[in-house]
Amino acid sequence: MLSNLDEMAARIGPRMHVALPVDYAGVAMAMTRPIIAHGAGELHLVCVPTGGLQVDQLIGAGLVHSIETSAVSLGEAGGAPRFNQAVKDGAIHLSDATCPAIHAGLMAAQKGIPFMPMRGLIGSDVLRNRDDWRVMDNPFAAAGDPIVLIPAIRPDVAVFHAPMADRFGNVWIGRRRELAAMAYASGETLVTVERVVDGSLVDDEMTAAGVLPALYVTAIAEAPRGAWPYGLWGEYATDVDELKRYAVAARSAQGFADYMSEALRVHP
C-alpha cells in the first residue's frame, strides 16, 4: 500500500473524475507536479467544496476539461489566475455549485443512494444552470414545499494530504472528516502524508477516532511538507508569500509556465 508520488500520479487516467479538498483541509500539493508530469488530461475536478492553488495549476497545465466547485481562489493571495482565464476563454466546462451541495452529492455516494435532498438553492442561478439537479415537492408536506435533489457524486479518485499513516494503510485525518467523505465516495483514494508511523493507528482508541481506515485507501506516499505552500492544520502554516508569488507569476500563460518549470524551490 506504501507507494510514491509518481506511481500514485500514474493511477490518474484520462477523463477521470478527481476529488480534491479545500485549502485548509490538507491539499496534496506534492502530487501536483507528478500529476502534471504524468499528464492524463480531460480530467473532471470535484472541489470539496472549493478549489485553490492545485486546481489552478492543473487548469493552467491544460489537464482539466471540467470542474464542479463552489469557488476557486487563492484566498488571501486573491483570485485564481489560470482558472479565471480559462473561464473567460470558455476553455473549461463549469458546474458552479454551493458548498453543501457538493457535500450532499458525496454523502449520497457514501450512503449508496442516488440523490440527497437539500434546502436552499431555489431561485438562484446556481440551480438554474445545473440541469443535472432536480426539484420536486417534498412528499412529506401537505402541499408545495419544493426541494432540490442533488445526485450522487462518485469520483474515480480522491487525492489529499494528511499528517500521518501507518504501514497498514490507515490514515490519520483528525477532525478533517471531509477527507473521509471524499474517500467513502470515491473509487480510489491516494494520500500523501507527512510521515508513516510504525504501530497501528487503530489499536488505540485515541488515534483511531481520527482515522480513515485502510479499507478506503488505495495508496499512500510519504511527502514531508507535502501541502506546501498550503499549511497543514496542527503542523505548519500556509506560506502566503509563495501563494502571492504564484498569483503574480500566473497572471499570464508564460508566467505560469515559467513558474511551473522552475526547479521545485526548497521550502522553509
Binding site: D89, T98, H103, D125, G144, D145, R176, E178
Partner: protein
C-alpha cells in the same frame, strides 16, 4: 460621540449591535471586520452578564468549534444552531440578491469571482444574515445582479427560515424588508449624506427624510474594542490589526 472613532471601529460596533441576542454567529475566512464585530458582541455579552455569543470562524483552527469537517457548518445551520452569518457580494441588488460569481454572461464571465461558496444555502437557513460590503459604489450596488448566487427573497411556498436583515456599507446602514421587498436606509455614517448615498447606489431604497447618523460607540464599548477585541483578533488577522494599530497611533491613541 467620540470624534476619535475610526471608520472601521464604527463598522465593528454596528455589527456588534446587529448581533445582539444571537447565540451563535459564524464568520467566513478573511473577514476581519465581521470577526471583530462578533468578538465585540461576545465581549459585550460577557460584560453585561448575559449568555455570550458563540463564534465560529471558518478555516480558523483556533476559533473552530467543529469536528466533523467542512460540512458541519452547513449541517449546524440546517439544524437551526447558527443564528447569524455575513454575506458579501461582487454585486448586490435592491432585492438583496447576491452575486459572487462574475460579471457579464454566464458561464463565460468577463470578470470571474471565486464563486458562490455556501451562500446559496446559508442565505436560506440562517435567520439573521448581515450583508456587509465596505465599498459603496454603483458597480457594487446594482439594479439587477448579473448572476444570482443567492436570492434575497423567496416565494411563500419555499422553505426559508433565513435571509437578509441588514446591509452595512462604508457609507451607511440599511435594514431589509422581506415583504416589500427592499432596503430602507436606517442611518448614515458620519461624513456621508443622503444624496451621496443615492448616487452611489444603483437601486432605489426607502429612507427617512433626514436619516439619522449611525450611532458611535460609547467610551466603554470603544475601550473593550481597543483592548480586548483587538488583542483577540490579532491571532487570526495580524496584518489587519497592525494596520488598525497604526491608525490608532495616528489618532494619538497608540496601545
Amino acid at each position: 460621540m467620540s470624534a476619535e472613532t475610526l471608520p472601521r471601529e464604527l463598522l465593528i460596533g454596528t455589527i456588534a449591535r446587529l448581533l445582539e441576542g444571537v447565540r451563535h454567529v459564524a464568520v467566513g475566512a478573511t473577514s476581519p471586520i465581521p470577526a471583530a464585530g462578533a468578538m465585540l458582541r461576545r465581549a459585550l455579552d460577557e460584560r453585561n452578564g448575559v449568555p455570550a455569543a458563540r463564534l465560529s470562524i471558518l478555516g480558523s483552527v483556533r476559533h473552530n468549534f467543529f469536528t466533523n469537517g467542512s460540512a458541519e457548518l452547513f449541517d449546524a445551520a440546517g439544524q437551526g444552531r447558527i443564528d447569524a452569518f455575513f454575506l458579501s457580494g461582487g454585486q448586490i441588488d435592491g432585492q438583496a440578491n447576491v452575486n459572487l460569481v462574475g460579471l457579464g454572461d454566464y458561464p463565460r464571465s468577463e470578470v470571474r469571482w471565486p464563486g458562490s461558496f455556501g451562500s446559496a444555502y446559508l442565505y436560506f437557513v440562517v435567520p439573521r444574515v448581515i450583508l456587509f460590503r465596505e465599498e459603496h459604489t454603483p458597480r457594487v450596488f446594482v439594479k439587477n445582479v448579473d448572476f444570482i448566487s443567492a436570492p434575497g427573497v423567496s416565494s411563500p411556498e419555499v422553505y426559508r427560515p433565513g435571509g437578509p436583515v441588514a446591509l452595512l456599507t462604508g457609507k451607511g446602514l440599511f435594514s431589509f424588508d422581506r415583504q416589500r421587498p427592499g432596503f430602507t436606509l436606517d442611518s448614515l455614517h458620519p461624513g456621508h449624506d443622503l444624496m451621496e448615498v443615492q448616487e452611489a447606489t444603483g437601486f432605489d431604497f426607502a429612507h427617512p427624510a433626514n436619516p439619522p447618523v449611525t450611532p458611535a460607540l460609547d467610551a466603554s464599548t470603544l475601550g473593550l474594542l481597543r483592548r480586548q477585541v483587538l488583542n483577540e483578533l490579532e491571532e487570526t488577522y495580524p496584518a489587519y490589526v497592525a494596520d488598525w494599530r497604526r491608525d490608532l497611533a495616528g489618532l494619538g491613541e497608540a496601545h
